[in-house]
């Protein structure tokens, strides 16, 4: 219904626009002249579809026909504007003429003149000295996701990205070049229209430019927070000229790329018997029971349910649409855009069971209004207002619980419902309900997020002071709030006894019915930003100077859900001053110095400000006189940069320089405060001041957190050597960068201080993890990373076919140089010298062949072993395989290599675009209830089809020491089921990320409908994947497959421009 209203809205908008245009023309008809003429190119060939409009007047204008002829009504002294894609704009001031013939020139679109958005404004590519990548926004548009981050992997050299879940509304994580820290946040700084904002709130159609700043020279000016790289996004603004309307409608059909496939009930039961028998235990199912199961004679006790089929649809249908208007006159220009995105979840919804939607749906609405006003000749005011609303829906238990059950429920565990209508469940816990009940009978969860962003930008030319001087002041104010309402209920649930008594089922209730209850919550924040820039540009002959001074401050305050900690209500403020000076000689030699001096409230006032200088230089070899005439070389530039940037994001911790003092209360083993019968905490650690038989007990006080006053910025030293080149009239072009980064002063807790330091500490084991309290923080870690990124484009025209081939690659490797960690006599046990998040485990040598093999091998200390169990390497040679033999194996979960390549071709009205994306140098362990078959020992955990049918070790049948999976066991198997190279999987993959086929309707046809351009398109994403890993989608990097898989989508759509 919403879709319907929206579409009607679109249609109404257009219709009202028509009527308005008609009235206008009729009123002014008296004074109008009819101008006719012909538009040609330099070769005197007629140009079809050129737009002719009247400057500073509303209306759609006119278009040239097949013969290049046009006719338009205009008044005297008005200016006619001729615009055509790929050609320079022409203007003509009308006087007495009735016929105006125009010749248009093709615009010079060579790479040299390409404009690059940088930290301090636009610059020509030729003048750039830092490592900056400009992303072709068009290429991000085919991605069906609402999140722009999803489209980045493999498109942008220097960006590493992965999509962890395909649930509608989930967003990808991405990072620039390398993860160089293990302490603080490793995510890049994203600036939208100059201020830190969420990239995923923007409709990609609203984006004008997308730029990635990678090295120190480009980011030092951001001082704070530039260390992880910066993404600059500028949104579209109106251009002087006729109104430009863009509309796009797209419908998607999405299905899962790969859903884990599970064994059927009979296979599952036979395998669980095998697991028992092979370990000399009694089988779980008698022959008769297996037979009952095979024949499907008892759907209550021995059902055979494919839970994936029960809960998952074959496909979901989604759509998105967007509409934008832009245009304007000499004094004001506007851009107005809106979009609607509706993604349907893949859960089957039973309408009969609830009159609300329980599917994992996601909807996003965005709007944007950008107005530029010339207040005076030299003053430009830009105002931007934008907002978004994200709405998410999920079943009451949540998607996480559903996937836990989907992977946990074996086909024979329980039926959908018992034959008497009762609802089964394994236990009373929410994530133990069967997936169908979870998906349809647990209520629903609504989450929504509102965002409003306001940007004010005042630009004053100060030519009256000195030519080339400009002043820009910027102010931004953003608010955001998240709200959720969870309406939860669950039915009365039952389980049955394992055996029929007298042929009857025996039921036990596992949980009583819970009527729908509601919980809700919200959180919110507001941010404001203020900046000013003073810019100066001057050219003296061949000498070009530039300088920028910049001041910035920003603050972020959480406005809801603050709790009782005073720290939470205090704004997070940043203040900085930065500058830049550059010089180039004849566009040939460039030098650039810039710095940031930034302060963060997270640090003590003596350590608050950091100074981050950077220097860079470039040599444009192609401009040298001896090469200037070389026709084959359009551009060749060598760049080098060297500088520092900082990072103040310390994770969740605020004000580490302050100490916390607490009253000592009795605590239990989970560090929860013990309360007395009245619910009051019990003080301890104090002194009884009272006389005999009276009470005056004063509880003790102590440091809850010791102050760390010396904590300061995490500093990255970055070096970058880059080459920009373009040969044979831009036929071959590319960029290649080598980079090196040394991150110092990584923020972390000093967990391994000796007791002799006198600092009190408490190590509490919570959920099998040691939590340390009261140790101070310090800047102690050090990580080095190096790598390269680059891209190469090749363009060729063969007859009517325009062909582009392109590829890009990012590779990085990091190494921890220093880290506060426990010492070990074995070097390999330290994290130092290894990658950040390096996978670790035992080295598997295959499976034990026989008992002789077990006797002749080092003793494995994890549990009893039998032939067919995993044999490990005794790394330290002490004759015993134990925890000290755990070494670094494989790479990291997040890929260290991301690449993409693709081609575009266009022929007449057709265009084709294919893009492949791949990742390498990543590995992860697989584990969990499905991989570690029958690990629970209680029937929980489904068996993957792939593993059931594999070449696994089978007693008497396949006693191959190199079998794919070890001897089965029922219940925990501490020897086999632990992290080792046996379970390590290569996460590399290559996939056809998108295939985009478009057809632009012939101009002469669409022009009649006043349409400039209409394109029909078909897009397929994630069409196929090559990977060594076959259990689930490799891109997710999931260890247990318990995640909403990624989608394969097919979409058709139309985009219209008029």
């Amino acid at each position: 219904m919403k879709k319907f209203i929206l579409c009607i809205g679109f249609a109404l908008l257009t219709i009202s626009y028509h009527t308005h245009a008609q009235e206008g023309t009729q009123q002014e008809v008296r004074e109008e002249l009819t101008i006719t003429g012909k538009v040609t190119d330099v070769n005197d060939q007629p140009l079809v579809g050129v737009s002719i409009s009247i400057s500073n007047a509303p209306g759609l204008g006119a278009r040239t026909d097949d013969a290049g002829k046009y006719s338009i009504k205009a008044k005297r002294y008005q200016t006619l504007e001729f615009t055509f894609v790929g050609y320079d704009k022409e203007e003509f001031l009308l006087n007495e003429e009735k016929e105006v013939n125009i010749m248009m020139r093709e615009s010079d679109a060579s790479l040299i003149n390409e404009v690059v958005v940088t930290a301090t404004g636009n610059e020509r590519r030729i003048a750039v000295t830092g490592a900056i990548t400009t992303v072709d926004v068009e290429r991000l548009k085919s991605n069906p996701s609402t999140s722009m981050a999803d489209a980045l992997a493999g498109q942008v050299p220097g960006i590493l990205a992965m999509q962890r879940s395909g649930r509608p509304g989930e967003i990808s994580e991405f990072w620039i070049r390398s993860i160089s820290t293990f302490g603080a946040s490793s995510s890049a700084l994203v600036l939208v229209d100059g201020f830190e904002r969420d990239m995923n709130e923007i409709n990609v159609e609203d984006v004008e430019s997308f730029t990635v700043l990678k090295d120190a020279s480009a980011t030092a000016i951001y001082g704070s927070r530039g260390a992880n790289g910066v993404v600059l996004i500028n949104t579209k603004r109106g251009k002087e000229g006729k109104i430009n309307i863009n509309a796009k409608l797209e419908g998607f059909r999405s299905q899962f790329t790969q859903l884990p496939e599970f064994a059927d009930g009979y296979t599952y039961a036979s395998m669980s018997n095998e697991a028992k028998i092979t370990r000399n235990q009694e089988p779980l199912f008698s022959d008769t029971e297996l037979e009952i199961l095979r024949l499907g004679l008892d759907p209550d006790l021995f059902p055979n349910v494919n839970w994936m089929d029960v809960l998952m649809r074959d496909y979901a249908v989604s759509n998105r649409s967007q509409l934008s208007f832009s245009g304007g006159g000499k004094t004001a220009r506007y851009y107005v855009g809106g979009s609607y995105h509706n993604q349907q979840g893949m859960y089957k919804v039973d309408d009969a069971l609830s009159d609300y939607n329980t599917n994992a749906n996601f909807k996003r609405y965005t709007y944007r209004l950008n107005v530029d006003m010339d207040i005076t000749k030299s003053t430009l005011l830009r105002v931007g207002v934008s907002g978004s609303l994200r709405k998410e829906n999920d079943p009451g238990v949540g998607t996480g619980a559903i996937w836990t059950s989907l992977m946990g429920y074996s086909p024979i565990m329980m039926p959908l419902s018992y034959s008497n209508g009762r609802i089964p469940s394994w236990t009373g816990k929410n994530d133990n309900l069967n997936p169908w009940v979870q998906g349809t009978m647990t209520g629903y969860k609504e989450t929504w997020q509102n965002n409003i962003q306001t940007t004010l930008n005042l630009e004053q030319k100060l030519d009256f002071v000195t030519p080339g001087l400009r002043f820009i002041a910027r102010y931004g104010y953003d608010t955001k709030n998240n709200n959720w309402i969870n309406r939860f209920k669950r039915p009365e649930t039952w389980r049955i006894e394992r055996f029929r008594t007298n042929g009857e089922l025996i039921f036990t209730r596992t949980a009583e019915e819970m009527k729908m209850t509601q919980t809700s919550g919200s959180e919110g924040s507001r941010r404001d930003f203020f900046e000013w820039d003073l810019l100066y540009n001057k050219s003296l002959g061949k000498h070009n100077f530039g300088a920028v001074a910049k001041y910035m401050q920003s603050s972020e305050v959480f406005t809801q859900g603050l709790g009782d900690d005073l720290k939470n209500g205090i704004a997070r403020r940043i203040q900085g001053f930065s500058g830049r000076a550059n010089y180039n000689f004849n566009n040939r030699y460039f030098v650039d110095f810039n710095f940031g001096y930034t302060g963060s409230e997270n640090f003590h006032k003596d350590y608050r400000f950091g100074f981050f200088p950077a220097f860079s230089a470039a040599w444009n070899v192609a401009e040298e006189p001896f090469l200037k005439d070389a026709d084959w070389l359009s551009m060749f530039k060598i760049r080098y940069s060297h500088g520092k940037t900082g990072n103040d994001r310390l994770g969740g911790d605020r004000f580490p320089y302050l100490y916390d003092i607490e009253t000592i209360y009795q605590r239990d083993s989970n560090w929860n405060i013990v309360k007395d019968s009245n619910g009051n905490p019990i003080a301890t650690g104090g002194y009884q001041f009272a006389d005999y038989q009276t009470t005056a007990y004063w509880g003790g006080m102590r440091y809850d957190q010791i102050a760390s006053p010396y904590v300061s910025w995490e500093v990255a030293l970055k070096k970058d050597l880059g080459f920009d080149f373009s040969f044979l009239h831009d036929k071959i072009s590319g960029v290649f960068d080598l980079f090196y980064e040394n991150r110092e002063g990584i923020f972390m807790r000093r967990d391994f201080l000796p007791a002799s330091s006198g600092l009190e500490s408490e190590i509490i084991r919570i959920n099998n993890q040691d939590r340390r309290f009261r140790y101070p923080y310090a800047n102690v870690g050090k990580v080095e990373s190096r790598g390269f990124d680059g891209n190469l484009d090749f363009k060729q025209q063969v007859n009517n076919v325009h062909l582009t081939l392109r590829g890009n690659l990012t590779y990085s490797k990091n190494k921890i140089l220093e880290r506060d960690e426990q010492n070990s006599i074995y070097d390999y046990r330290l994290q130092e010298g290894h990658r950040v998040d390096q996978a670790r485990g035992l080295v598997a040598l295959g499976l034990f062949k026989d008992y002789d093999d077990i006797r002749n091998s080092p003793t494995q200390t994890f549990g009893e072993v039998m032939p067919g169990d995993i044999k490990y390497k005794d790394v330290n040679g002490d004759g015993v395989v134990d925890g000290t033999d755990i070494v670094a194996i494989g790479a990291t979960t997040r890929p260290n290599l991301i690449y993409g390549f693709g081609m575009s071709a266009s022929w007449k009205g057709f265009d084709l675009n294919a893009h492949f994306q791949g990742a390498g140098k990543s590995s992860y362990f697989i584990n969990g209830s499905s991989v570690y078959m029958f690990q629970g020992g209680d029937g929980w955990g489904n068996v993957l089809m792939d593993m059931a049918n594999s070449n696994r070790w089978k007693l008497g049948e396949n006693e191959d020491p190199n079998a794919e999976y070890p001897r089965l066991s029922y219940g925990a198997n501490a020897n086999n089921y632990r992290a080792s190279s046996f379970w390590l999987r290569d996460g590399s993959y290559l996939r056809l990320k998108s295939l985009d086929l478009g057809y632009s309707l012939p101009k002469n046809l669409v022009n009649r409908a006043h349409i400039n351009n209409a394109r029909l398109f078909f897009i397929a994403t994630n069409l196929f994947t090559f990977s060594k890993f076959g259990l689930w989608d490799p891109e997710m990097g999931s260890t247990d497959g318990k995640a909403y898989p990624l989608s394969k989508t097919f979409s058709v759509g139309i985009s219209v421009n008029l």
Binding site: F4, S286, I292, L295, L297, V317, R498
Partner: protein, 466 residues
């Protein structure tokens, strides 16, 4: 005129808009799920044949799959007779059916009949070519108590077997030595009850003023009055009470002996002294009922554990069950000094609970409670100790058996290779218990009664049909 022209020009434009609007409605119909193919109904034109069955033999209550042809798909229209007895049919699917072997199906011939729509008249039938090898065996069944699917609906009352509610907290059974039709149930803080097997009636055994009871026993002398102990946590209160048979167990008299935390107690069958254990201090005392003298018999190896005492009918030794420590000790009787000696372990390993059969300390138990000595006729030839000890292994949900040689095996429970539950049938293949705690052997009827703290009912282990 002009307007018309313009609108003509817009027509194609509108068409495009319309098509874009239409695109929003692109929705595809879900295909409905096929599911399994429905088996065909009985075809009167074809004969009904029975080709075989699985398993080939077994006892009453076992699952049986019968193969054949043209069985139809309606359970109400099928009748299976095994050994001339009607077998309960669970489901039927064309060429196979699933039924339960009935009791006393001694002949073992398997016949399948198709009935008319009313389910009365036999229309057709077939007989299996082979005979089902029916065995008569020991099985678990229900004795008394209502099984509550929903625990909160629990009721407890006096009444006949089919209307007496459920039994919570049962911990100790004991037969009245003078009335083999009645046994008494100690049920901690719940009401003690009396089960009459002849009248099939359950009544309360009222003990006003006495709180938690974990044991009921009988005085050795005279009228064989009833003796019970209050398991309290006071160092200054008396614990033992006598209920006189002459008053029909309504009049009680306290014995002047302070005792705290009495869980187990037993009377020596020959010499008549009372032994009782104290929880906190871990000591077993010997109390002379005649003289009222009280002294330490021996110290239990552990303190803070419930210790249950069962004395061999000959009086030669006693099994000392350490509940929290999951093992059983044996204490030999010093006939000269008339006192039990310091015990030694015979089954299970202290503080290491688990479920494994084996000899002596290599076996594993998990919170054993009451046990009972049962004469084994097989031992008659070899002489020596004639009794096996059957005991409730509560957290293993099984009845275990300890032979005079110290071999521990699992006698009943944990059917289908599982743990707890509620299922009747074959002792080891099918039956399941849930926290069996109390056990008694009925020598007149040759069967066991087992009280479960998990299922709140009393089960019976007997030869099928008895």
């Amino acid at each position: 005129m002009k307007v018309e022209k313009i609108s003509k020009r817009w027509r194609s434009f509108h068409a495009i808009w319309l098509s874009m609007v239409m695109l929003c409605f692109v929705q595809c119909k879900e295909s409905s799920d096929g599911g399994d193919e429905k088996p065909v109904a009985y075809d009167p034109g074809k004969p009904v044949s029975v080709t075989g069955f699985l398993p080939k033999g077994g006892g009453a209550g076992s699952n049986l799959v019968v193969y054949g042809d043209n069985f139809g798909n309606d359970v109400s229209r099928i009748k299976v007779m095994i050994g001339g007895k009607i077998a309960k049919t669970v489901s039927v699917k064309g060429n196979a059916l699933y039924c339960i072997v009935p009791s006393e199906a001694f002949d073992g011939d398997v016949n399948v009949y198709i009935l008319d729509e009313a389910g009365e008249e036999e229309l057709a039938g077939g007989e299996a070519p082979e005979v089902f090898a029916y065995e008569r065996k020991w099985v678990v069944s229900d004795l008394v108590g209502k099984y509550y699917e929903v625990g909160t609906q629990f009721e407890e009352k006096e009444g006949p077997f089919d209307d007496c509610g459920a039994f919570k907290n049962m911990i100790w059974f004991t037969f009245d030595p003078k009335n083999p039709n009645q046994f008494y149930i100690a049920a901690e803080s719940s009401n003690a009850r009396v089960v009459d097997l002849e009248t099939r009636y359950v009544s309360y055994f009222r003990t006003p003023g006495i709180g938690r009871k974990t044991v009921i026993l009988w005085r050795p002398d005279g009228d064989r009055d009833l003796l019970t102990a209050e398991n309290h946590a006071s160092d200054t209160r008396n614990a033992f009470y006598t209920f006189s048979r002459s008053s029909n167990f309504t009049q009680s008299q306290v014995i002047n002996q302070v005792a705290r935390g009495v869980n187990g107690a037993a009377v020596h069958p020959i010499n008549g002294e009372l032994y009782y254990s104290l929880y906190r201090v871990g000591v077993v005392y010997r109390y002379d009922l005649e003289t009222g003298t009280n002294k330490v018999a021996f110290s239990n190896p552990f303190q803070s554990t419930a210790v249950f005492i069962v004395i061999h009918p000959s009086g030669d030794y006693a099994y000392i069950t350490n509940y929290e420590r999951s093992y059983i000790l044996k204490s030999e009787y010093d006939h000269v000094n008339k006192i039990f000696r310091t015990p030694y372990p015979v089954a299970g390993l202290a503080n290491s609970n688990g479920w494994s059969d084996g000899v002596g300390t290599s076996a594993r138990l998990n919170r054993p409670v009451q046990g009972v000595f049962v004469k084994n006729p097989d031992y008659e030839e070899q002489g020596g100790d004639q009794y096996d000890y059957y005991f409730c292994d509560k957290e293993n949900h099984a009845i275990r058996k300890l032979t005079p040689q110290g071999r521990v095996s699992t006698y009943a429970g944990r059917g289908n290779n599982g743990t707890n539950g509620y299922a009747n049938g074959d002792l080891r293949l099918e039956a399941r218990f849930n926290q069996p705690t109390a056990i008694a052997f009925d020598e007149t009827r040759n069967c066991f009664y087992v009280g479960e703290q998990g299922n709140w009912i009393i089960r019976k282990i007997s030869l099928e049909g008895e």
